[in-house]
Symmetry: D2
Subunit: 281 residues, 4 copies
Amino acid sequence: MERNSFLKLVKNYKAVFLDSYGVLKTHHGLIKGVENTLDLLRSQGIRFKILTNDASRSRQQQVEKFNELGLTGLTTEEIITSGTLARHFIEDKNLQGSIAYLGTDSAASYILQSGRKSISIKEVDLENCDDIAGFVFLDDEGFDWNTDINKTINLLRIKNIPVVVANSDKLYPVSFRDVAVGTGGIAKLVENILGRKFIHFGKPDSQMFVYAYNLLSPSQDFSKNDILMVGDTLQTDILGGNKFGLRTALVLTGNTSNRKADMLISSTGIIPDYICESITS
Amino acid sequence: MERNSFLKLVKNYKAVFLDSYGVLKTHHGLIKGVENTLDLLRSQGIRFKILTNDASRSRQQQVEKFNELGLTGLTTEEIITSGTLARHFIEDKNLQGSIAYLGTDSAASYILQSGRKSISIKEVDLENCDDIAGFVFLDDEGFDWNTDINKTINLLRIKNIPVVVANSDKLYPVSFRDVAVGTGGIAKLVENILGRKFIHFGKPDSQMFVYAYNLLSPSQDFSKNDILMVGDTLQTDILGGNKFGLRTALVLTGNTSNRKADMLISSTGIIPDYICESITS
Amino acid sequence: MERNSFLKLVKNYKAVFLDSYGVLKTHHGLIKGVENTLDLLRSQGIRFKILTNDASRSRQQQVEKFNELGLTGLTTEEIITSGTLARHFIEDKNLQGSIAYLGTDSAASYILQSGRKSISIKEVDLENCDDIAGFVFLDDEGFDWNTDINKTINLLRIKNIPVVVANSDKLYPVSFRDVAVGTGGIAKLVENILGRKFIHFGKPDSQMFVYAYNLLSPSQDFSKNDILMVGDTLQTDILGGNKFGLRTALVLTGNTSNRKADMLISSTGIIPDYICESITS
Amino acid sequence: MERNSFLKLVKNYKAVFLDSYGVLKTHHGLIKGVENTLDLLRSQGIRFKILTNDASRSRQQQVEKFNELGLTGLTTEEIITSGTLARHFIEDKNLQGSIAYLGTDSAASYILQSGRKSISIKEVDLENCDDIAGFVFLDDEGFDWNTDINKTINLLRIKNIPVVVANSDKLYPVSFRDVAVGTGGIAKLVENILGRKFIHFGKPDSQMFVYAYNLLSPSQDFSKNDILMVGDTLQTDILGGNKFGLRTALVLTGNTSNRKADMLISSTGIIPDYICESITS
């Protein structure tokens, strides 16, 4: 497929949805020039939202993290995480009882906030768990994999309760060479073993797109044709954007290298409308 | 799980989403008493939408079919089909070229309407298919399974184009004893063989819920908590409703029998908020 | 990976297992030079067996087909088909009753021979099928896809009987450009829809390797290290050979092109011990 | 299905293959009366082999473990483990270099014995792993799940080497209430994340049956019809036995309770030839 200039392309849209990792930043830090691109979007009145599969940090913590990296001026309203969605879901669900979780207490404190009783899987007593009314996979840290994955499986064998996966990514990058199993990978293992289906939040599922779209366009003044979804991963960003009915642009600064892009598009059948080197040119 | 009275339960909601087959009708015809239930909903100001995985009939044809069965007074606005969603998607996508399809010409005429060029897989010339820009799985009828499924596979090996599945149901009931493979089943076979992922419309995916919700509540005056999703199938109606954040009620007049309901809920982990015998009591 | 000369390599082995399609022949006919290779094997005392996923022809018919293509001198003992295995299995199983099948009557006559009662799905009466004690997926021809796949599904919903898939290949080539869904693809669709697991015969499953090995080496005078498995398909020939403990050689005359071989090996993790252009050099 | 007396049934066979956990013992210890059954088999000249998915103990350690439980008189020849098979496979494969493993050093010492260089994943240096020529999933203990599963994934991203799973069980019981993720479950997670297929040993795959059969009947004096496979798990023991062509008996002393047996047989389509309460009556 032909390569497009993002800076030219974006002028045809009223709004842009941007993936975070691989589009704005990598393990090296901020991708050089993204500040300028965001400034350009602002100056031209093109609105944007950052859509990221992440449940470990609140929107405020995301803003602060971008500040540290040198990208200032973002607002919490501009960042939508899969954790945000999981939090709304749990609030709406209004479960009577305590929510058990696999993950850090800090992730729990923002996702399960507002006075709700919650309990880390570490603290759960399997002999005495009548009060537990829901379960959330929050993060791949904050617990002991040696014992707490088994404990989760045993809890969910005893209790048939709603289970939420606050970030469906199976894998995430930790350095140029290394990756790590994410919350979504652990949840998949447990689903596989129990033969059940949990409720997953994050791209490519459409709740995040629905949420961002409603936030952008509460009185429906934007049509889907006005919005460009930009991402580095076919299976999440592009598949999700296509499915929601947005135009999609694949960038080559992250998961999908220039060398492999055409082969991956052809073998997966997930076809972006455009391919751009990066969002900076 | 305890059984609830639907007629009592529904009074707590401002709106209801109803599955069609197994909730309003079966292969025997209309379920006795559903007219009264719909009248009651209308008289109490509880709004409703019928959400059905079907791409073979337009909304107008659906209304006429219900009329024939004896359920009069429905409007096209009250019926949302997966075909409707596929049609909007294709319109929005604005593909340049012809759309090939597997299904009846009548389904094609309403889903691919509005002057767009379309061509049945039967008529496609694989030696000369440059013009084809998209493909839709519409229906399990209107083509020859012996040849046209293979032809579809060969077309999609040559052309890497967007592929839409207008009804994701793998199976549908045709009599008390018999079922038939649906469009979604054929699409799954082709996905499996090509190793690709198509864009599926229909429950449990959330586009239909998004669409119905926006139609019901254009100025967002209904919260999700105000809506009850009612269906007979855990994997589509209940999973989809749960995921979208609605309260869900399983009825026992269709796919899920009273005898098997608890076992299926426990083995799938898909948990309705309520179980009701039917919508008529 | 480095490319090897098959003719040099094979001298280190006492026996060779050869896939048929893509190794000995293609849709064009016999691959030029394979007669010489087989003559060479014979003259050097290297024994060989042809292992093919095929249930449509008996071993004798296979020999005749090779004769037609110009490869003479093969014996039925040198050809092992997945159909042979399915036949032995059904004989051993000694089911009391009739065997229903999806496929041609000619395939049925050799696989379900020896006086056993058998019945094509076309002839099955679903109202009166008490006598049916087993089911075999034989071939992708000999029935009407429009009706008989559904009929198979409905039969297997009524009767919980052993189901055998006599050729597990999901796809087979019919010309340079075109492929067709094979018996294994149809069986997979039915398994997927019913949520069951059938008994599949054919590479990569090991029964065919066991059978060939026992035939070659009844008094266990060959070790597995003495045998080279040669095939053009990673997922069947190479995976099956590796798993059975043979050395494996991928040839590039069929499914796996020279251009894609390294990429496919790396992405599937199925690693042949050797790669050869063909068996003729 | 009807229930059969094992003690009557077994008289029709020349040999029996017995699963271990759920047939001979449970988490409570030896199932009462199995000594008598084994004595009876011996006295009547019915030969038996114990086939178990286990890679954590050598055959000698298995014998000792049974001795501790009170079942004396077993020989190492009577016990076949998936670990035995993996060990033979690795020996035959003759990989040039070191084998990395996930599991205990004690399991490594018997599976990777005979002077072969091996290295625990704990000790692997990802910057310097040129020498590693194969990988084995041995056990769910002996490493730190928090770090070493990720390390395994990163190693296998760098090195495309043969990977063996020495016990394919995804789950195993640890008490009346609790289960734990087994080696097979961890391997499945890694396969899922890498998109690769490893070489799995253990029921239902047929290598263990081939091995036991050859051991029992080196001069092929037993036919498959002479052998009864006995197990408590449909997906491993019964599926594997059926597929290999043996008669199969499900016992109700383990995974499959009397209450659920018929439902599970019907929903999985895995059909034992017989159902027996236990091997003791």
